[in-house]
């Protein structure tokens, strides 16, 4: 039981990260109907940017708790801005010229961009994995068998349950960002423009919406969320390599499809489900095949439930 609860907590943390990446997929797919395959690598790039900024700030970080929080805020903001700029440039260079071309052209271009980004980072930062010392230590103890420890529950089982502060931080930030973006898309003029472009971009243009600008903003927003996910990934795992973009990217896409592509809460829900399945699978079956499990879910979802859990059934546009 304790083991299960611990895996549940780990899975929810992982799922939050997937959910944040999945929002980027879902927003871009919603607005231009394109699978932005490079999104996973944008996430990887943002992790590297965050790591570099954190390393610049390292002398301050060791001083106090307030300094750590300050550093995190700086990293989040700078990372969001820089990654947004990257994704804006990618959209301008690789996707916009292909708009209106045949349907699969942007997808192929995105795959090319994905390969470019991971190789670029490999060349520029070197092929070894980069690590970072744990920023936030400790956590709440939920259950333990050690009598001396102050804890919520005492059990006889040898497995303890802890929820690390960083896991708590990740979940809280995901929830906050989901609320903020939900508000942005549902209640502001920008979100209205985005939804208009999503429904009918030609009509939106006739009504005076700058479609190109709206699409650019969507890409920047998606990249900003990927940057947040990158910082969270760094806090949670403390290690990143140039090839770490593809698999989280595909899993986040799975999450987006599972939750219903085009729907923001759906993306986070899908992310949580994928995270839970992955950590429970690793805990009870075999860790070797956890990616196989994720890919199988992707295939099964796409084949049997293409509109997802929270998505609306859509007429197939071929």
């Amino acid at each position: 039981m304790e083991y299960f609860v611990q895996q549940l907590i780990n899975g929810l943390t992982l799922g939050s990260i997937y959910g944040l990446i999945a929002i980027g997929y879902t927003m871009v797919f919603g607005i231009i109907g394109m699978v932005n395959f490079a999104h996973g690598d944008v996430f990887m790039l943002s992790t590297f940017i965050a790591l570099i900024i954190l390393m610049i700030l390292l002398p301050i970080i060791s001083t106090s708790m307030a300094a750590v929080i300050f550093a995190l805020v700086v990293v989040l903001i700078l990372g969001m801005v820089l990654t947004g700029l990257w994704n804006w440039a990618i959209e301008r260079i690789a996707y916009r010229p292909l708009r209106g071309s045949f349907r699969l052209a942007p997808l192929i271009s995105a795959i090319g961009m994905s390969i470019f980004l991971s190789n670029f980072v490999q060349v520029v930062q070197g092929p070894t994995n980069k690590s970072l010392n744990a920023l936030i230590d400790g956590g709440f103890c939920l259950a333990t068998d050690v009598a001396a420890k102050s804890c919520l529950f005492h059990t006889k089982s040898s497995f303890g349950v802890t929820i690390a502060y960083k896991q708590l931080l990740i979940m809280v930030i995901t929830a906050l960002l989901l609320a903020a973006f939900w508000y942005l898309v549902q209640r502001t003029p920008l979100g209205r423009a985005q939804r208009a472009c999503e429904q009918d971009s030609k009509m939106a243009r006739l009504l005076g919406i700058d479609v190109d600008r709206t699409i650019s903003v969507t890409f920047v927003m998606g990249a900003a969320l990927a940057a947040v996910a990158g910082v969270m990934y760094l806090i949670q795992y403390g290690i990143v390599g140039f090839s770490d973009g593809f698999v989280p990217g595909v899993k986040a896409f799975t999450a987006a499809v599972l939750g219903g592509i085009g729907s923001l809460p759906g993306a986070v829900l899908g992310g949580l489900i994928i995270g839970l399945i992955e950590s429970l699978w690793s805990a009870y079956f075999t860790i070797d095949y956890k990616d196989v499990a994720a890919f199988s879910i992707l295939a099964v979802t796409l084949i049997f439930l293409p509109s997802g859990i929270l998505g609306r059934p859509e007429v197939e546009k071929v």
């Binding site: 390393m55 820089l82 690590s131 295939a299």
Partner: protein, 292 residues
């Protein structure tokens, strides 16, 4: 007339150059902004594995400079006239036919040409590394053309069947045949080749049946997922595929039962030729060519 036209065009040209310069500067600024954190600072670790940041200032400046020049020159030299839509090469059917015949003839003569130009010792590199590699890509391209080109289905997991074929051949020839039909071993290549093809086709049917309900982007993603699944299974299923170590000692192809070895009953001895590994590669080259 000419007097009045002159200043006009001149100012036109100067504004154009100024605009091009501004655009170039914008582009260079963008490149700088993009590259500053990730290019200037490189995460390195010292001898005690403590990470530190290595600084290099020149690289982004070079990139920005080159970006400015490229953007400036392309903008300054292109005319303002609307671009003509590029037309694909319009080859007459006859030309295409001659081209493909020529290509086949070139491929057929390729080992001979390589032999004649660089001799037996030098040509093994050209036939083995380049010729056979090229032919493998030709085969792959052929298959992909059927799926993507003729059927219009973007299959990103196509290499999975390449892997299935390779592993079927390797497993059949190293595990199944020696156990159940050792007397067939000289013919291993010729038996396993069609079997591997059949197995890959079987997998194509198994994966294709559910997948073909999808179209477009989703099809591409699902095939990509299947490709990854097969790759991961091949890596992780140690008992059968021996994982990252791979399978070695796969029987080489034989000349319809005659092995390409230096032994007495080998290909070279039978035909009274001097032994060289070149025979095998040349033979393999023509096998692929014939199949294609």
């Amino acid at each position: 007339m000419a007097m009045t036209e002159q200043p006009h065009t001149q100012s036109d040209a100067s504004t154009k150059i100024r605009n091009a310069a501004i655009e170039g500067l914008k582009f260079a600024g963008l490149l700088l902004a993009l590259s500053i954190p990730i290019l200037v600072l490189r995460i390195d670790s010292d001898i005690d594995h403590r990470p530190f940041l290595a600084v290099r200032w020149q690289l982004p400046l070079w990139i920005a400079g080159i970006g400015f020049l490229v953007r400036f020159v392309t903008l300054a030299l292109t005319s303002d006239a609307p671009k003509k839509a590029s037309t694909p090469w319009n080859l007459s059917p006859n030309t295409t036919r001659y081209l493909s015949y020529g290509g086949i003839a070139l491929l057929a003569l390729y080992p001979v040409i390589a032999l004649a130009l660089v001799g037996p010792a030098g040509s093994i590199k050209w036939i083995d590394n380049f010729g056979i590699q090229v032919m493998i890509y030709v085969m792959l391209g052929w298959g992909l053309n059927i799926v993507v080109g003729l059927a219009g289905l973007l299959d990103l997991g196509y290499v999975a069947f390449y892997a299935v074929g390779a592993y079927s051949y390797a497993l059949l020839a190293t595990v199944v045949l020696p156990k159940y039909a050792p007397f067939l071993m000289p013919w291993a290549f010729w038996i396993c080749l069609p079997l591997a093809g059949l197995l890959a086709a079987l997998w194509g049917i198994i994966l294709g049946l559910p997948v073909l309900r999808l179209r477009g982007d989703y099809l591409a993603i699902v095939t990509l997922a299947f490709g990854e699944i097969i790759r991961l299974i091949l890596i992780n299923w140690d008992v059968v595929t021996s994982g990252y170590a791979g399978i070695s000692g796969i029987p080489r192809p034989s000349f319809f039962g005659l092995p390409f070895t230096a032994s007495d009953n080998g290909f070279a001895a039978t035909f009274g030729l001097e032994f060289t590994p070149l025979h095998r590669t040349i033979f393999l080259f023509y096998v692929i060519l014939a199949l294609a």
